[in-house]
Symmetry: C2
Subunit: 355 residues, 2 copies
Amino acid sequence: MAKRVKARLVDVARDAGVSPATVSRAMAQPDLLTPDTLARVHDSARKLGYRPDGMARALASGRTMTIGAIVPTLDSTIFARVLQAMQSALAREGYQLLVASHEMNPAAETEAVRTLLTRGVDGLMLVGAERSQDTAMLLRTAGVPVVLSWVGTQDCAAVTVDNRLAGHLAARHLIGLGHRRIGMVVGHLPFNDRQQARLAGARQALHEAGLDLPGALVSEQGLTMAGGRAGCARLLELGEPPSAIIGGIDLFAIGCIQEAQSRGIAVPEALSVVGIDDIEMSAHITPALTTVMIPTARIGQLCAATLLAEIKGERRHEQTELPIELVVRQSTAAGRQVLPAKAASTASTARQAFP
Amino acid sequence: MAKRVKARLVDVARDAGVSPATVSRAMAQPDLLTPDTLARVHDSARKLGYRPDGMARALASGRTMTIGAIVPTLDSTIFARVLQAMQSALAREGYQLLVASHEMNPAAETEAVRTLLTRGVDGLMLVGAERSQDTAMLLRTAGVPVVLSWVGTQDCAAVTVDNRLAGHLAARHLIGLGHRRIGMVVGHLPFNDRQQARLAGARQALHEAGLDLPGALVSEQGLTMAGGRAGCARLLELGEPPSAIIGGIDLFAIGCIQEAQSRGIAVPEALSVVGIDDIEMSAHITPALTTVMIPTARIGQLCAATLLAEIKGERRHEQTELPIELVVRQSTAAGRQVLPAKAASTASTARQAFP
DNA sequence: ATCTTGAATGATAGCGCTTTCATCAAAACT
DNA sequence: AGTTTTGATGAAAGCGCTATCATTCAAGAT
């Protein structure tokens, strides 16, 4: 017998002696059926190895049970973490995560949005607020909820963090320790408003303290540890090197520490380093990294929740700003100008971080 | 006028004065049409803001242009890297990546496979060969190409790496340096055949050298840097601690180095550490990590290529084993038994790594 | 001039499911 | 008993597209 490979809903219906509609209901709203018919349908379904066809279902119902996420890159602890959190939260509600990355290329982002929208998603998560006109237009006519992360805009839902404040906190911490010449390693600024904001925040803090963050003390690097090392190297080789460096991401800061140490420059005694993110590793390196904690996983979780709520029509354009905070560990110490040789007294400063 | 929100194919057809079939062809096989009609269709499509409906297309054509990937966790450099590589390779061919993770839980993997299959994917990528009966059964009746990564089986395509050899290489390197008492920090073994194989390989190398890797010298930990530190701590606190430690993943090895250093134990002078993976960071820490290089990105790239080839019917059950190799850096040195105090002579050993 | 052939396009039957709307029996009211 | 209500099920119309087959018409072959 030339048996169909895959059992369809109608096959189950025929086998169970009911109409297709009943089988459909058995899957979606079981409580509408008599326990008896329900059982009969289930038996037939199991017997035939019936597996519903998601595409047919999506076409008929208009819901795909899929959320799209477009991140700058997957190859980053940060975004991996966020996606992991989103995925877990979504899976709990039966949703799937469709991911794409644009590698810091606005046109690639447009393309990704277009593809995901065409493919059919019930919601879309993007990173940052800066994007091309094309992408913005697509989003406006998308017809599905959108949530922005890290940096958002008022015209759609957002789960954000004050990146400017992050830079500000990092810089202020160093200023408070007496540092006057502070450098920063940041990611490439074009199409990365998170890094732009962090840099701006740091610069602002310095200005407020009557200091300056000249371009020469800022090094733009690719988002890797090697980038951190390279940036650090560049800053240290300046005629007048900084006494403290802010890493636009923790990975940079960790790279800075490595680079300094490999040059025989003690951290934090001769160079203070602060990061931003607080990735897992930061607490475990030596010296443990002082950094600004960004609740990455929470961002992912809330992006999922926000999207789901909007899909259900419960909320609209919900804005959430998550708190961040400075976590003082061992990579920062008083600047030389203030406490020329007293390394000991700085230890207590660092220890304040562990109440 | 109660205008439809979304333009459909028929709307374009009507506007362009052609049949739906022609519009469909204009999108899929443009060369079948007269340049004139093609242009007319494109104009109408643009004018109406037509965006094809992926679900309808999928239902009608049976192709979803989506590949599913199920990894143990997204929150890992390794898997993030692999997915990144897959995603890039797939995007180039117009495919999307649907990701799921199972957090080392076989039942969750089954569920993920079921959902992805139901959702509709044209191919599936999984990690490792060990899985529940249920999952295996689902896969067998999936009806779409499957590719396994890291560890595979003969009954479906696989892009693998010899994990046993990885452990073997790491151990042999240490044995060659004169170490007799070697410990290992591995990930939790249940449902992780990569770690199992790496441990087995290390153990085998030790046996071949007339040595032993007793359970007491093996510490199972969660796949984080904190896990590496904890494992290292456990091993170092043994009555007779090892003179060298193998990290089942680089993150463990890096954690071991940190833990040792924080206890004032010099690496590699007093403790040698080898990792497996060769993540970006490994080359940049101090001392740079000696490790077994696993071509992670290449695995992802090949998984994508293998799946695509199988979808096109070009190949079937293609097996690819990627070469791996020991990368000697600075974290390993001669064991105390052989060269009691000559740290200098070990430096040259390390430098061999950079030809 | 007639017949083939082939390229371009049209007509249309599904793809497998959801979802009104209709139906019908049984239960709950007058 | 007669009527309304309720709950469970069935009938069937799409969802928007692809793909098969049929049709048309002009160009080349006879």
